[in-house]
Symmetry: C2
Subunit: 132 residues, 2 copies
DNA sequence: TCCTTAATAGCAATGTTTACTAATTAGAAG
DNA sequence: CTTCTAATTAGTAAACATTGCTATTAAGGA
């Protein structure tokens, strides 16, 4: 029986995520793939991103207040989102691998990981808001 | 000079957030206010929720993958989102108030808080995936 | 080569939120 | 109390990210 097919679309999506390094949005992936394969549809990009994330080939990072991000298998790390301009950056901070252990009552949940996103003002927006 | 007006709409929105306790979505607030004041528009609810959040009278909680939540003054806390069904629940865990201090290089950022969302499988979805 | 069905392109539809504009109205000033 | 004016509103449209639908295409086993 066959369960999964290797399509050009899927390999192009994976390739694009790798090229774009970390925290690419689905739309950025779509834009990049569309340069080589203009007929690809957004639905296909979304479907493959989720499949690749589920199979562990890429990582999905959910950022509150903005679009989901997709990373290659770079090390686990955290993010900041500027509350003004919405841009997302990496944060230079150790990953807390055992954060799930601090949960007191799991209520039957099975924890598999966590997303930590800081809120803040990026340097550019700080400048703007102080000069105005 | 006047900078801010006290409108019935704003006080109704604040009242609704208080009544609904924690995790009310903008739409839930709208539904509640509309019962007393049917002509209110969603735009007004959104604008007032953001204004109230900015002035500190309520708190805005951004949850990836679902609508923003608005809380009265309940304590800071974290969330889990089931990776299968998408539902969001509270996590029983101490709030780490000084998490921002663990950041090594701020790169000029001004940090104001953080959102921590765990990933996991809720009890219902665990049952389903084990029985299939 | 044929056959099955997973995967696709294209588009419609969803849900959440923001943007726009003419009409309304809270609150200051006279 | 009346007038003035700009903050706020209702209503609607549009932006945005994402999912759903369906006829068509094509991967890969037989």
């Amino acid at each position: 029986m066959m369960i999964k097919r290797n399509t050009i679309q899927r390999s192009l999506v994976l390739e694009a995520v790798n090229k774009l390094k970390c925290h690419a949005t689905a739309d950025e992936v779509y834009q990049m793939v569309a340069q080589e394969h203009p007929t690809i549809s957004k639905g296909t990009v979304y479907r493959n991103l989720h499949q690749l994330a589920e199979s562990g080939e890429i990582r999905k990072i959910e950022v509150p207040g903005s679009a989901d991000r997709f990373d290659h298998r770079c090390h686990d790390h955290y993010h900041v989102r500027c509350t003004k301009c919405g841009k997302v950056f990496d944060v230079n901070m150790d990953y807390i691998a055992d954060l799930e252990k601090k949960i007191r009552d799991t209520h039957g949940f099975e924890f598999t990981g966590h997303d930590l996103v800081f809120r803040g003002l990026c340097p550019d927006c700080r400048k703007e808001s102080s000069s105005i």
